[in-house]
């Protein structure tokens, strides 16, 4: 198994599989409602230097702040 990484470590164009969410409850619930739960796959479409990214998950596209991306842990998928 690969080392644990955070979504914020991904670069644009990389795929990521979520293992866990380490965020405060209300944000965690908002992510859950979008289907961003352990096991789901995320593709990073675009990323800014400050860490804000555009991701795709379950067919929808989201803008995600850097702080939120730091709390999503998992592994890069190759």
């Amino acid at each position: 198994m690969r080392m644990k990484e955070r979504l914020s470590d991904c670069r644009a164009g990389e795929d990521f599989t979520v293992w866990g969410i380490r965020l405060e409850e209300s944000l965690g619930h908002r992510l859950l409602a979008l289907g961003i739960v352990p096991g789901c796959r995320i593709r990073v479409l675009f990323k800014k230097r400050a860490g804000t990214m555009v991701i795709r998950c379950r067919g929808a596209r989201y803008a995600l702040g850097a702080e939120a991306a730091k709390g999503i842990v998992g592994g890069k998928t190759i």
Binding site: H29, R30, G39, F46, K48, V54, A60, A63, G65, A68
Partner: protein, 600 residues
Amino acid sequence: MTIVFAGNPNCGKTTLFNAYTGASLKVANWPGVTVEKKEGTYTCKGQQHTLVDLPGIYSLSSYTIEERLSRQFLLSEEADGIVDVADASCLSRSLYLTLQLIESGRPVVLALNMMDLLKKRGQRLDVERLSRLLGVPVVPVCARRREGIYALMEKTLWAIAAGQRPAAAFSRMEEKERFAWIEAVVAACLTGRRREGFTDRVDAVLLHPVWGSGIFLIIMTAVFFLTFSLGDLAKLPLEVGVDQLCTAARQGLDAIHTVPWLTSLITDGILSGVGSILTFLPNIILLFFALSLLEDSGYMARVAYIMDGIMGSLGLSGRAFLPMLLGLGCTVPAVMASRTLETRRDRLRVTLITPFMSCSARLPVYILLAGAFFGKYAPLAALSMYGVGLLTAVVVARCTKNLGGKETQAPLLLELPDYKAPAPRTVILYVWEKIRDYLTRAGTTIFLASILLWTLLHVGPGGFVVSMEDSFAAWIGKRIAPLLVPCGLGIWQIAVALIAGVAAKEVVVSSLAVLLGITNISSAAGMGALRASLGVWGFGPANAYALMVFVLLYIPCAAALATIRSETKSRLWTAGAAALQMAAAWILSALTYRLGSLFL
């Protein structure tokens, strides 16, 4: 029967609601357009039903205001049946809410919107199978083209009549299993591989880490530049029209030997005041046309991503920029849009800074003053107001960063919709709504303000006055004017115009027309007269610029204040916001006047 439309944000609930009820509620291509519950009626087979449009939600938990409101209503006794509107192009996400709605035990019908988009992507969906697996009726619709809406209503009424309470096979599943179940259902019903397309290619350019913000700046500059320059061309025929109307009215009133005071009231009061506002209609139309293209194309939501870095340094998420952007049209809906923000602290701060974004009502003031005092640099001078407004908002946001405790800001999380060609119907409705608002204001607020002002100008303590200097208006203005001397605005007429402008900011223009007795003030001749009559007091470009800054920043109009009051539910906060705005206006206009006097 009461039928509720529920679903994810930006899936087309309001479009569907409008199709049934004939309402023209605002729709656009970004999540969070609808912030209030709206009701309407629909008659089917002689029976009248109540339809309810709710703000979009992703789940029935209660972590956001919209979710709480929607949940409350959906689970109340009032809702007889639920139409769950889902965006077929991202089905697996949408079905999470669908499961929760089915579990609520009320009759649910799933309306699959945007099936055309799915087809365009080369995918096919087995509707029958989906319906069997979910245990609820599924109806494909196209809300934009109003296809399938009759079938949808029939199925819904049937489901309500059947009192059908489908057994939920998934009610004991954990969240993770639930999504696995949803993925399995979608895999069973959806065939064909998704072709990635247009939106990602456009985003590669518009969301570029380096050029992205530059492109946004260019787009906004272009919007306002076109509003000023094209609008100026389009306003010529209107000026001629207003001119002819005034001349005709004067001649007509003279011909029937109207008493002089009545002629003066009608021509110098009403026609000058209202007429001056009407000529700015082309600018207003152009501005809202451009804004509606931004909103309906899908670019609007992306601005939150582009601005996230800058907003982050102010302690706000990029999403807080959306209300500010809406504020370029009108402060009232912009303040209401602050509701979609996650924490109360963010909402309060956004209501504080949004009024600094220059709304369309301030446009006539810039066009008039810049046109009269800045010659060929007029568009530039007017454009700079948007920069001044934005900078002030940024500074105020920075200063209030630690206000209300160190509650951590909610990070950005916002769905970005697919780009689409703006729907002509949506754009036309939106612009028409704004034209109607503008004309209504000209016919009510500005009409009344002009009459009131004319009266105050011609009546003094001793009845009718010969010289305006003895009127009530002058009396009031002369009390206020000394306060405005440091801003280069110490003229009683300007003080009166500014007070009147609290009713609506366009009133500053109509009041200047009435106060200075200039008919058709926005025409070349009118601007010349304005320059000449203010020039008597040594009022030059520096003063004009200070006045523009003052109008930009000072106390928002009565309607905006009322909205801030109702959104924040705090009189104290509203009063504080108004005081802050007045202080900002006074300080910055004094500053620009001093600086301007050195150069201009």
